[in-house]
């Protein structure tokens, strides 16, 4: 941590970056995002297991961009998000510095995005055992039971869109739910509109979701909507050999193999 602070201080002192986006202590037991713009404020930076917010979400925020070049404190999920976003042309090496944090909470600096990509080869996305168990439990249910499960889980959603706002991959300037000609997704929150919204969001994240759980963490009523993206991750693993953010080589859902296997097309 001291190393990280030292480096952050250096970067701000030399003017290499204008802001360090990191974590700091928040209300009570919470942590929050910190935007350190003065070298003397780096002491505010912390990192521990409570720091689960995906900071990559700020990289596309106009006010943050206006500050100037950022350095970002990046544990694994953030690193993944950065690579995926870079592959989607959202930024290049020139406009970002990455202060990586290993799963052992060690500081590791990356000079280029390509290094991050290589580094991530050792940290492939693995769905946690706890979540796997839930997925399996759901898989074992009958279709009706699954349907009732999701209707019950999603009905209370009041469409605050915290899931979307917290997701680094949801950076569209105008989300499909905000389009009204045609109105694909109902604006009011009700069972149908909620199901459609969460279904579509999961589809949009298929092959892009970095499994950071930011969506589920953000949900004020704790809907386990990350299960949806985890399910697509699993399916992509089974059908297309798995997902890993890459700078090049296209995108799982915008490319194909002529011999993609399926067993349901007549």
């Amino acid at each position: 941590m001291d190393e990280l602070k030292k480096r952050a201080k250096e970067l701000l002192e030399t003017g290499a970056v204008k802001v360090v986006i990191g974590y700091e202590q928040g209300t009570g037991n919470k942590t929050r995002a910190a935007f350190i713009q003065k070298p003397e404020e780096v002491s505010r930076l912390i990192f521990d297991s409570r720091c689960v917010l995906n900071l990559a979400v700020y990289l596309n925020k106009p006010e943050v961009k206006q500050i100037g070049k950022p350095a970002i404190v990046a544990p694994i999920p953030v690193l993944r998000a950065i690579i995926q976003l870079a592959s989607e042309n959202q930024f290049t090496d020139d406009n970002l510095l990455i202060l990586g944090i290993t799963p052992e909470s060690k500081f590791v600096e990356f000079n280029k995005l390509a290094d991050v990509e290589t580094y991530l080869d050792q940290h492939l996305i693995e769905i946690e055992a706890r979540d796997k168990e839930i997925l399996e439990k759901l898989d074992k249910m009958s279709v009706e039971e699954r349907w009732n499960f999701w209707v019950e889980e999603l009905s209370p959603c009041f469409k605050c869109y915290a899931c979307r706002a917290a997701c680094p991959m949801c950076y569209c300037h105008r989300c499909t739910v905000e389009m009204n000609q045609p109105q694909w997704i109902s604006v009011p929150s009700h069972q149908l509109g909620n199901i459609e919204w969460h279904f579509m969001r999961a589809m949009h994240l298929a092959g892009r979701c970095v499994d950071c759980n930011a969506c589920a963490n953000a949900c004020p009523i704790a809907i386990p909507l990350n299960l949806l993206t985890k399910k697509t991750l699993e399916e992509i693993k089974v059908s297309f050999g798995g997902y890993k953010p890459t700078l090049t080589g296209g995108h799982i859902m915008s490319t194909f193999k002529p011999n993609d296997k399926e067993n349901f097309i007549r």
Binding site: V151, L192, K231, F240
Partner: protein, 149 residues
């Protein structure tokens, strides 16, 4: 009460399945009246949200059909579509949407008879499954008050 007549919508590509269905007509092969065809340039254009909206508006079954692999008029639209379908179908199943109600098929411009068969077997399947009441219940949200909570 009259017998349940399934509502089936077919999303098809212009070059293979639509033409194949034309051939079914030209060959005067009969099939169930329950299906309504919506034409797209390519299966690659078919938006999964349209499938969702169809269920929301009360269809009981859906057919999605296009060119056989390698035969796409646009070379690879059907390959792209196939990937999307694989994920889409899996997610549907996971959310408890009855995937037996969605029939995917490849029907070429020369397969008029196959088209009739795809329609007929789908209609038969849906007839056996009955109306898609689970989805309809959710779609008719105002029958139940959604006001609270």
């Amino acid at each position: 009460m009259s017998e349940f007549e399934p509502k089936v919508v077919a999303f098809v590509c212009n070059w293979c399945t639509y033409a194949g269905a034309d051939l079914t007509g030209t060959s005067r092969i009969k099939y169930a009246t329950n299906v309504r065809i919506v034409r797209f340039p390519c299966t690659g254009r078919i938006d999964y949200m349209l499938l969702m909206k169809s269920f929301a508006e009360g269809v009981d079954g859906i057919i999605v059909s296009g060119c056989h692999p390698n035969d796409c008029h646009y070379t690879s639209g059907n390959f792209q579509a196939r990937r999307r379908w694989i994920v889409f179908r899996n997610l549907c199943d996971f959310m408890g949407i009855d995937i037996r109600r969605i029939q995917f098929s490849w029907v070429s411009a020369a397969e008029g008879a196959k088209w009739a068969d795809v329609v007929n077997t789908t209609v038969t399947t849906i007839r056996e499954l009955g109306p898609y009441t689970d989805y309809k219940k959710v779609a008719n949200y105002f029958e139940k008050e959604v006001s609270h909570g």
